[in-house]
């Protein structure tokens, strides 16, 4: 690709590449296209092998000249991956295996039919659905932050430009810097990383600082276990984040930007590196961008596995080569940030929204959302739902719509128990909150938070005390140790929870938990400590009866806590096959094959559950 050094050249390039994309999707040149999901989820299911197989078979059949094979970013509907989409018909095949490749080529491309058994089947109507937009999972979605993901090739800057990349930057460079900030202020964009602080105000603070050096930092240290939207954006359309960063840089007067991305995301890191390299090559990063005085370059730094580095000041310390421990605020990073210079730290999803707002206008963004939370939010749906994946929905969508319409409800006709939003810093919401419209303030009012958008659904088989313990283990591991209430408070809370799940708890422990939660919340420097006890507070409030059950009756109602359950054989179902006894690691199951039903010695049993999964007749149960 040729260098793009002024707005006219960008216009020409955009028009040319847009035509190329249109031709690809609409088959104007008679060429058809296959796109394959290249997100981490699908790559783990061998979508690279799938691509190679398509290329090979097409070549062998002499079809490679008229059918192109492309890799794109995440489709979002991860539980149905890997996806293969065929243009121009727009047919979506799901759960495609390498062995399906020849069938698709034969039936779809040669015979112009459809491979029926690879289509998505609606779990309720049992209807086969051919197009992506007709699937319930996609119907209520609106892609703003995920713009371009699953459409363009993330490793090809030409496609990104054809799909609108750098249009917003061009527009911003023709505006006054304060006007750009006003636009973001008017859009009501709030930080998507957790706190929900108004992005425009952050920019304004940094703009107001007099300094010859300022920095924009993109926070891609997505630590919430169960959230992966930032990764998918970086994998699907990295240039949208780079462009957002450049607009921020122009607005506050920064010349350099730093990406801080988790090292656990190798695909995202690789694609970001490619995007940075390509943008430099065509002159869209570097000096005098688009013929203006604006100079900007970006650097990439990797995290090294510390959750606390998602906190902005800890992140800055990490970039500075130190232990990732938070700094006291004020001074805020906008005043004194990276290397002591004014710095704004914005999350990946936040920056990905910026080009959309600038390009399409404030109203195109504010028409979605609630009064105080504008636009859309990406959620990572996980846990006990039928449709696991990534969805971008307008703020104000209710939890019920999210869990039942989009995520398709709970598998196996089990009952909904709770949804945890905001990860380890959030809280759980129950049935009574299902009709709450999701936005920043509603979630906080209910004792949870938006966080980065993780949404984990739990059903009747999940023990809430165990879940609370899980989050506390995580926080305890990840507390950096700087503040005593967080370092020791979380440890003490974990000890009490362990005691309770072991069946050694006392009722007075619940008061102690509440007291510790309060101290940890009030006495910690950063958000990690301040929110550490949220899962405890919310489960204590909404599932107190489960705690009491563990303490008073020494039972775990969901049959999860190991010390409080025992395994038994149902003599009516036992077929005396001896499989349980043969699999038992401690030989505590006795019986005679074919003659005598088997019995478990509960005093010797180590409760490993091996027999339960080994029994072909479901004769073993937990009590």
């Amino acid at each position: 690709m040729k260098k793009v050094t002024n707005p006219e050249m960008l216009m020409v390039a955009h028009a040319a590449f847009k035509k190329q994309l249109d031709d690809k999707f609409n088959s104007k040149t008679g060429k058809r296209a296959i796109v394959i999901c290249g997100g981490t989820g699908c790559l783990s299911s061998d979508s690279t092998v799938l691509k190679e197989r398509f290329e090979k078979v097409l070549k062998d059949k002499g079809l490679d000249g008229i059918i192109s094979v492309n890799m794109v970013g995440c489709f979002g509907f991860c539980s149905q991956g890997p996806f293969v989409k065929v243009y121009p018909e727009d047919t979506l095949y799901r759960k495609v295996k390498v062995s399906d490749v020849e069938k698709i080529i034969e039936e779809d491309f040669i015979n112009h039919g459809i491979v029926e058994d690879l289509l998505y089947v609606d779990p309720i109507t049992h209807e086969k659905i051919k197009k992506m937009e007709d699937i319930n999972f996609y119907k209520k979605q609106k892609r703003i932050a995920l713009y371009g993901c699953s459409v363009i090739d993330p490793e090809n800057i030409e496609e990104a430009i054809g799909y609108g990349s750098f249009q917003a930057l061009d527009k911003a460079l023709h505006m006054d810097r304060q006007e750009v900030i006003n636009m973001i202020l008017d859009s009501g964009l709030r930080g998507r990383g957790g706190g929900g602080f108004p992005t425009g105000r952050k920019w304004q603070f940094a703009y107001n600082q007099e300094s010859d050096e300022k920095y924009v930092v993109c926070n891609g240290d997505e630590g919430d276990p169960g959230a992966f939207m930032d990764r998918s954006i970086l994998e699907g359309n990295p240039l949208s984040v780079i462009e957002g960063m450049m607009i921020a840089g122009y607005a506050i007067g920064a010349k350099e930007g730093y990406f801080y991305v988790r090292a656990e995301y190798p695909v995202a890191v690789n694609r970001l590196n490619i995007a940075i390299k390509q943008a430099r090559e065509v002159g869209l990063l570097g000096n005098n961008i688009l013929g203006t005085d604006f100079c900007f370059d970006v650097h990439l730094r990797l995290g090294a596995g510390a959750f606390v580095c998602g906190e902005e000041t800890a992140l800055l310390n990490s970039i500075e080569g130190q232990r990732g421990m938070p700094r006291p605020r004020p001074p805020f990073p906008a005043v004194k940030g990276l290397w002591g210079k004014p710095t704004i730290v914005n999350n990946v999803e936040t920056l990905a929204c910026v080009p959309y707002i600038v390009r399409e206008g404030v109203e195109a963004f504010t028409k979605y959302g609630t009064e105080k939370s504008k636009g859309t939010k990406v959620f990572a749906l996980g846990g006990k739902v039928n449709n696991v994946g990534l969805v971008e929905i307008p703020m104000g969508t209710t939890i019920r719509e999210l869990v039942y319409d989009i995520a398709g409800g709970i598998p196996g006709n089990k009952n909904f128990k709770a949804i945890q939003t905001g990860g380890p810093s959030g809280g759980c919401l129950t049935e009574e909150h299902l009709d709450t419209p999701i936005d920043f303030d509603n979630l906080v009012a209910l004792g949870s938070m938006m966080g980065s958008g993780g949404a984990i659904v739990m059903d009747e088989d999940n023990c809430m005390v165990d879940v609370a313990k899980f989050y506390m283990e995580f926080i305890c591991d990840e507390s950096c140790g700087k503040c005593t209430p967080c370092r020791i408070g979380t440890k003490r809370i974990l000890e009490i929870l362990t005691k309770i799940t072991n069946g050694e708890g006392e009722l007075s422990d619940l008061d102690r938990l509440e007291e510790l939660a309060e101290v940890t919340k009030n006495g910690s420097l950063c958000a990690l400590g301040q929110t550490a006890a949220n899962p405890i507070i919310s489960t204590l409030k909404r599932f107190r009866d489960e705690y009491v059950e563990h303490i008073v009756n020494k039972t775990c109602p969901a049959h999860v806590c190991k010390n409080l359950i025992s395994y038994h054989v149902d003599p009516d179902l036992c077929k005396k096959c001896s499989k349980c006894a043969r699999n038992c690691p401690v030989n505590c199951i006795t019986g005679v094959p074919g003659k005598e039903t088997y019995k478990i010695d509960t005093t010797a049993c180590v409760r490993c559950g091996t027999c339960l999964s080994a029994c072909p007749f479901h004769a073993i149960y937990k009590k």
Partner: protein
């Protein structure tokens, strides 16, 4: 223990590659960790000599981040995801089974240097929950009864590699 000649050379090269970056320590440590699989004290001393950063500070950083390791890891690093989505789908039982079969705890390496078990905090493959990653390969929807097969697969792979080597 003394560092071998080639290791000294390689560490020096890594330092030289990043030394002109502002605050290069994290970048140097990441590169050394990736290259050697761990960062022993001797390597930290060498980095200290080359950069002028005190050993105490380097040691502080190395021990803060879970990616950096002071000890070598096994040939097969079994990472069991304990992210929330995997945890609510029983990944704790999966990691317990690995520990039971290999006789080690998370974070430890078997005496023969074959296996390390790591408890991972979300690899982002939530749709594949519970997920287990062995080196680069991700095993989706792992059940307790699959654990033995995964270990067997690694041992088979290693045997094949040794055969080829001989």
């Amino acid at each position: 223990m003394k560092l071998q000649e080639h290791a000294i050379k390689e560490i020096k090269e890594i330092v030289a590659q990043f030394i002109n970056e502002p605050t290069p320590l994290m970048m140097i440590l990441s590169a050394v960790q990736t290259k050697f699989g761990y960062i022993p004290m001797e390597a930290q001393e060498l980095i200290s000599e080359e950069t002028g950063i005190s050993v105490a500070e380097i040691y502080g950083v190395v021990t803060f981040y879970s990616f950096f390791s002071l000890k070598p890891k096994g040939k097969y690093i079994i990472g069991v995801c304990l992210g929330t989505a995997c945890y609510v789908k029983n990944s704790q039982q999966v990691i317990d089974k690995f520990c039971q079969l290999l006789g080690i705890q998370p974070g430890e390496t078997t005496a023969d240097g074959m296996f390390t078990i790591d408890a991972l905090r979300c690899i982002g493959a939530c749709a594949l929950a519970p997920a287990v990653r062995v080196n680069e390969k991700v095993y989706p929807q792992v059940r307790v009864e699959d654990v033995e097969k995964i270990i067997d697969a690694c041992e088979k792979m290693e045997a094949e590699k040794n055969e080829k080597g001989n």
